[in-house]
Amino acid sequence: MTRRLLIGTRKGTFIVENDGGRWKPRLAGHAGGGVNYVARDPYTGRLWALLGFGHWGAKLSISDDDGATWADAGAQIMYPEGTKYLGQTMFEDPSSDFGVTWSTSLRKATVQKLWVIGFGPGGRVHVGTIPGGLFTSTDGGASFALDMGLWNDPSRGGDLSGATEATGLETKWFGTPASESGEFAPGLHSISVDPRDPARMLVAVSTAGVIETRDGGESWAPRNRGMRLDHTPEPEADWGHDTHFIDRCDGEPDCVWQQNHTGIYYSRDNAMSWEKVGAPEQDVSFGFAIAADDADGRVAWVVPGRSDMQRMAIDGALFVARTDDGGKSWTKHREGLPQEGAYDVVLRHALDAKGGAVAFGSTTGNLYVSEDRGETWAVAGNNLPPIYSVRWA
């Protein structure tokens, strides 16, 4: 049984260990700084923290001694000179029937947020950013390069390096309010390297959807078949899907789970097609996070919230829902979780499962751990800072 959790919070990195049967968090670094994501590279043992210092910008921080000490990584994530993207801005427009209009402009890319990190064999480290970048290292993090195949994908206007204005250019990628700049720019929040072949990888973007490469990032294709955009006039569009998170079953890598803005999806063919599998009648539909079991592709966990209008725990009570049959049915588990006066929100990186142990943290600083596949829960912390990420180490 895994016994260690890495927690990214608005005020630092925490490590949670089981001490005599009780889960205890301790501050492990970056005190006072925003930590969007913390994870352990399973191939090297190195810990990586993705920092979002409001004033001082986004930084990669590493620890090679299990979190005892941290240092800025020697190679930081930076967009190369000349990289541009199509940004969208809403502005007041008295001539519009609605009083506002969207405009598209060409913008120089700079890192607004480091959002997620993923790992592959042979020194592969991948970092997802806002605005919509995937940075890849093939030397264990000694250097990173922007994946130009994805950056220059036709769906976002193609190669914009020679463009001087946005006129005539179009992007099918939309934004997320999760950036730290206030800009509504696309965010790459999910990275899943295929354990059978590291050149095959899925990423997911808010708001574009799931995207696959089979050639190590040279070329990419949307993998959104079967998903529906309930809130747009073109519900089966290739692009523009608001995937909140995807998680793959390591033991059955063709099984991929997705929490989407519009519900829960399951794929049994490595994201080539998706089936909507939530149970809205049981309040199992909306949420941000999803965790796949690492052995059984049919098993996944979610922590549902009340619709996108509220984005909070349902009726003041927290529950975790689990499916054991590929989403045909869901069981709701409440034992050990607060059943009144709870208004927690669980963000997309704040739920994780490993070896049947499940943990999640909320923006109200509560952290819960289950060692029996989500059936019963123990409190690991009630007074943590707002929690952004929870990962078993």
Partner: protein
């Protein structure tokens, strides 16, 4: 030499700059930031983004005047000047 006075917030990341006089040779603010980065590698990326632009909630003063060129930091500095590098107080 141009003296540089840093917000103490930066000392948590660059303790080697705390409790000492920091002075560099520079003719512009950009040169001063580059020289500071030689003393404390990485600090320029805290003060500026990867395009060399001053980060939105960071400011640099030459004497009592805020820099005018936040994009390239081309404002001139002269021997005896003091640069103050500080951040907005915000958040909770």
């Amino acid at each position: 030499m141009v003296s540089i006075a840093l917000t103490r917030h930066l000392f948590q990341f660059f303790p080697q700059l705390a409790d000492r006089e920091v002075a560099v040779e520079a003719a512009t603010v950009a040169e001063a930031v580059r020289a500071l980065d030689d003393l404390a590698p990485g600090i320029a990326f805290y003060i500026c983004d990867e395009r060399g632009r001053l980060r939105p909630h960071v400011n640099i003063f030459v004497g009592k005047e805020a820099v005018r060129d936040r994009m390239r930091l081309s404002d001139p500095v002269a021997p005896g000047d003091t640069l103050s590098i500080l951040q907005a107080l915000s958040g909770g």
